[in-house]
């Protein structure tokens, strides 16, 4: 999994407010986990496809960079990731893009987007690393490929860690 990270800082860095409680803030992601675990294996794939179809369009401002997305080399899947940090309320917003030919990548990106974008730094860093397992995808997708979603999430985490350190 490769991506480009664009750290666009918006809002003033001064006067960072107190961290929000992480349990409450991570609720959207926890709800997605619940949603997946409530259905049988094969329906989880359909649900993942639903999420792939609901990956939001990249905002105008990033569309130009999208074309610089890494090329597909070997088994790399091109993925575009941009992060915007709002230090005044310590939240981060994510923007993903991936080609139509990789719906699995789009699906996982969309889950991270719906589950964590706009959440607090603490909630993002507190989210479980094994998102694929949390979604109950272990039997449906090869474990080796499943780690792609962990790698994607790792990239999200690192962008937040890099920003606050």
């Amino acid at each position: 999994m490769t991506s480009q990270s664009t750290a666009a800082q918006t809002g003033g860095a001064a006067g960072a407010s107190a961290a929000q409680p992480s349990a409450a803030a991570a609720a959207p992601l926890a709800e997605i986990f619940e949603e997946f675990r409530a259905v049988p294996d094969q329906q989880r794939l359909k649900l993942l496809l639903d999420y792939a179809n609901r990956l939001p369009e990249l905002p105008e401002a990033y569309r130009e960079n999208f074309h610089q997305m890494d090329e597909v080399l070997e088994c790399q899947t091109p993925l575009f990731l941009a992060t915007e940090f709002r230090d005044e309320d310590r939240t981060a917003e994510f923007f993903f893009a991936a080609p139509e030919e990789v719906p699995t990548t789009r699906g996982f990106a969309s889950i991270i987007q719906h589950g964590l974008s706009g959440q607090s730094y603490d909630a993002i860093l507190g989210a479980p690393m094994d998102i694929g397992e949390q979604l109950g995808m272990g039997r449906v997708i090869a474990p080796l490929r499943l780690r792609a979603v962990s790698a994607m999430f790792g990239r999200v985490r690192r962008s937040v860690e890099g920003h606050i350190s």
Binding site: E74, E101, T105, R139, I141, L144, R147
Partner: protein, 296 residues
């Protein structure tokens, strides 16, 4: 102008997208889509094609091995395949996973197996029909094959060790994996890795994608001969073994060696680098040189 498949050693192993458009509804034709991306089939596929999942359909869930003849027969029956069926594979990534599925079917002795030249990409680039309708196959009774013919088409690590210095080996991974600069494929840094980097002594480096054109179709026989026979030094050898990291990219190269160039005994080492690079006391060469067979 469509490509003349008679240039290849086994012209029957490939079909064109035009052929598929014309024959996909023939009674003895079964279309199977095999992708790396497990959701791609669901977004749209060639009408009538069934999905085959290399992970859940072809592998034993516990042991690192393929399904056995009983499981294969059950799987083929479920899809309505008979021993007389013409089974056509296609998929994403220049047919990587399609070639892998075709190779596994080969182990069970199914006779008529073919790849769509150019795979899924060519079909979609030509604007041909796709559907999200999933066909309901009429189950057949596929007789259980007497054996899984590993000896002829599949190499185990002992075979590879015994072949060093005797039969040519082709390493189809990326150059950085071959030299040992990285221990996993680019983009796969945290998975499918190995403890040691490098390549099997004497192996020639021919990244798998060199066999394919930009549009995913296979290169001409002349071009393939220049790459494998001459540059890689496989020459007119009786035996040749291809390997990669887990055996999927090398299935693509195996298809080239077996069907397009016609080597008598072409085998795929599916243990590949995730076995070799993690095994104790197996010889490894680091760097661009192919290296010598170790003294025994």
């Amino acid at each position: 102008m469509s490509k003349d498949f008679s240039q290849y050693s086994n012209p029957e192993a490939l079909v064109s997208t035009e052929w598929v458009a014309e024959h996909k509804d023939d009674e003895n034709v079964v279309l199977l889509e095999s992708n790396e991306d497990v959701l791609l089939y669901e977004t749209g596929h060639i009408p009538g094609a069934h999905k085959i999942d290399w992970h859940t359909d072809l592998n034993d869930p516990v042991t690192r091995d393929f399904i056995d003849p009983e499981q294969f027969a059950a799987f083929a029956s479920k899809l309505g395949i008979t021993p007389e069926s013409t089974v056509i594979f296609y998929g994403d990534k220049s047919n990587w996973w399609a070639a892998y599925a075709l190779w596994v079917f080969t182990l069970f002795g199914h006779k008529d197996l073919r790849l769509i030249d150019g795979g899924r990409q060519k079909w979609t680039d030509e604007g041909r029909e796709l559907t999200t309708d999933v066909p309901t196959p009429t189950p057949s009774t596929y007789p259980v094959p007497a054996t899984r013919n590993d000896a002829e088409f599949r190499a185990y690590r002992e075979d590879v060790l015994g072949s060093i210095g005797k039969a040519p080996l082709v390493d189809v991974r990326s150059p950085a994996e071959y030299t040992g600069e990285v221990t996993s494929a680019p983009g796969f840094e945290d998975k499918e890795g190995a403890l040691r980097g490098g390549h099997i002594p004497t192996a020639a480096s021919v990244p798998w994608a060199r066999a394919a054109n930009e549009d995913g179709t296979f290169k001409s026989r002349e071009e393939l001969e220049a790459i494998y026979q001459e540059e890689a030094g496989v020459g007119k050898a009786d035996e040749v073994i291809a390997y990669c990291r887990i055996g999927e990219r090398s299935s693509h190269t195996w298809f080239v060696l077996q069907h397009l160039l016609g080597y008598d005994k072409a085998r795929n080492y599916d243990g590949s680098w995730t076995e070799w690079g993690n095994a104790v006391r197996l010889p490894i060469v680091v760097g661009e040189e192919r290296g010598e067979a170790p003294a025994r």
